[in-house]
Symmetry: C2
DNA sequence: GTCGCAAGTTAGTCACTTCTAACCTGGTGA
DNA sequence: TCACCAGGTTAGAAGTGACTAACTTGCGAC
């Protein structure tokens, strides 16, 4: 199973919520992403069955190693791309939205080059 | 009807093919995009019915003003993003592929800022 | 003339990602 | 204790964007 863009977003959101509120349940993801409960329920089922997350009896969600790897990759892209766009003069909100879409479609190589360019611009 | 990402790609391809080979038919788009004939046939029907292209009796395709506007916008993004990524050290092939995905999801504002940054880097 | 091929279309299907409607379940307050 | 509510699930549907199989059509070679 190839990981899909939507799955990347869910995993990233789980990571962000874990950092922000600690224990994460499906309903927290519902509130964060503004999707319906069934959408999240279905998505979590897919992520569970494909080994990206674990859910305990109470519904608390943790990322597996496999899930964490993806979540961290996407989240790093999110942060770097957002900061980079802001540094070019883009409004924070727009920068975040664009980062959220670009993070899923950019190649590792292009991302690394943008990251490098951004870091260098910071050191000047 | 909100224009979809796939429609943007078809319109851009029509513009590129027009510049490269002159008269464009569905089969030329099939060969360029590596989609099946029915996929292109169906897509052209949608574009036709929504006023983005015209087809004459022989199947030759032209962009309407509405279609041309989109095609040119996407194509400009494609060129600028590709050149920009190349200028950061990304291989041409990868740069083109990334540009082709980013061009559909980036906001006008972020694109303009990247374009500006790229132009400025060229003048140094 | 007719055979065959190139171009195009129609019909049916599938995966992905979301939705609404309706239901289940377990804990808590009165 | 029991009724309700928060959290979660199942079932069915919809939109997007692709596919294969099978058909039509028109033109050119022989």
């Amino acid at each position: 199973m190839k990981i899909q863009e939507s799955a990347e977003n869910y995993l990233e959101t789980i990571l962000v919520l874990r950092q922000r509120i600690g224990n994460v349940r499906s309903i927290d993801i519902v509130n964060e992403m503004n999707f319906s409960k069934p959408s999240i329920s279905y998505a979590m089922k897919q992520l569970r069955e494909n080994g990206y997350i674990l859910m305990d009896e109470s519904g608390y969600i943790t990322l597996t190693d496999k899930g964490m790897e993806i979540a961290e990759r996407i989240y790093e892209r999110h942060k770097v791309l957002t900061d980079y766009l802001i540094s070019l003069g883009v409004d924070e909100d727009v920068a975040r939205e664009d980062a959220c879409r670009i993070e899923h479609v950019i190649s590792p190589k292009s991302f690394e080059m943008i990251k490098k360019a951004y870091k260098e611009s910071q050191n000047r």
